[in-house]
């Protein structure tokens, strides 16, 4: 059952990413060269709607959150490394699979590289666990928790920043 739900969710997500054209190398690298904001429009809209949906359902007691731990050093180093590879490959993990499906066959090399990268990480994990991963551990924290306020003002700020960004991007034709 779990797998069937995953498959259906994936099909819909793949369809939405393909229609929005965010799985293209041009759109990914276009953003990184600050010439095309399509992927940010897509992602930020999704995040803002998702925030309202997730916190709405959470406050009704329908769902629980699943927060990833804030390991500051690992996120900064890992995040920057991710960015370096992302720029060279032109794809992130989710989009690489979709890009291959729409005929961008060079994405297969990025996917193979990702599998190798995952294998290398598994080998390095024991050493990383006692070093980088243990530096700056703050646990599973959220912004409203850290600020000591309700999530809603944070959502309002995110949405406002998003709308200002969208207006700017449309005005600049990015």
């Amino acid at each position: 059952m779990e797998q069937i739900i995953g498959l259906i969710t994936g099909v819909l997500f793949g369809l939405l990413m393909q229609k929005a054209e965010v799985i293209r190398f041009e759109k990914q690298v276009g953003f990184m060269l600050l010439k095309d904001m399509t992927i940010i429009k897509f992602m930020l809209t999704g995040v803002i709607v998702g925030m309202i949906g997730i916190y709405g359902c959470h406050s009704l007691g329908l769902i629980s959150l699943s927060i990833k731990a804030t390991n500051v050093a690992a996120i900064i180093i890992g995040g920057l490394l991710f960015g370096i590879g992302w720029a060279i490959a032109g794809y992130c993990p989710g989009t690489s699979v979709g890009a291959l499906a729409e005929g961008r066959i060079h994405a297969i090399w990025a996917i193979l590289g990702m599998l190798v990268g995952a294998g290398i990480y598994a080998e390095a994990y024991p050493a990383l666990k006692t070093s980088v991963l243990s530096w700056g551990k703050y646990g599973k924290i959220t912004l409203p928790q850290t600020l000591g306020i309700s999530p809603w003002p944070v959502i309002v700020v995110f949405a406002a920043v998003g709308i200002v960004f969208f207006v700017w991007a449309e005005k600049k034709g990015l």
Binding site: E2, A20, F31, L33, G50
Partner: protein
Amino acid sequence: MNISLFTARWSPYIAGILVGVLATLSVVVTTAIIEKPKYLGASTTFVRAAGFIEKAVASEHVASNAYFQAKKVKVDWQMLFVVGVFAGALVSSRMGKTSKLETVPPIWQQRFGSSSVTRGVGAFIGGVILMFGARLAGGCPSGHGLSGNMQLSVSGLLALVCFMAGGIITARIVYGGGDK
């Protein structure tokens, strides 16, 4: 505002709104049916897939590795989610007639020429680095970027800022910022 499956392109805002709805529904439905909230994510699947491949040649090694033990090498919700992304993009690109055979993308070609081997090597190296980074950071633009930020997590916001900073700086160096 045409959002037919036969339309080549949808507005990123419309698609983004639908992604927000999909992400919320995913959590609600999985909580109700399998009693585990499933937030969208992709990169752990690459760990599990690598585990399956390595298992074929060195099963004891995989069984004894702490990371594979922690992530569990299994066919789970997320692995089928990633398979679904492939299927969804395949159907969508066929119906919208936007499927195109491409061995070297134009921006890459401008900088490194039309060799598909050069592009293959570049894509592979990029893939290795980005996945190592994603696992160290604990997620990719789906898990941290979308799902993390939807939950207002500190880790999601920090990761997204670092992904972008690394990408923007590297893209400028690799592809040059000059030509339009």
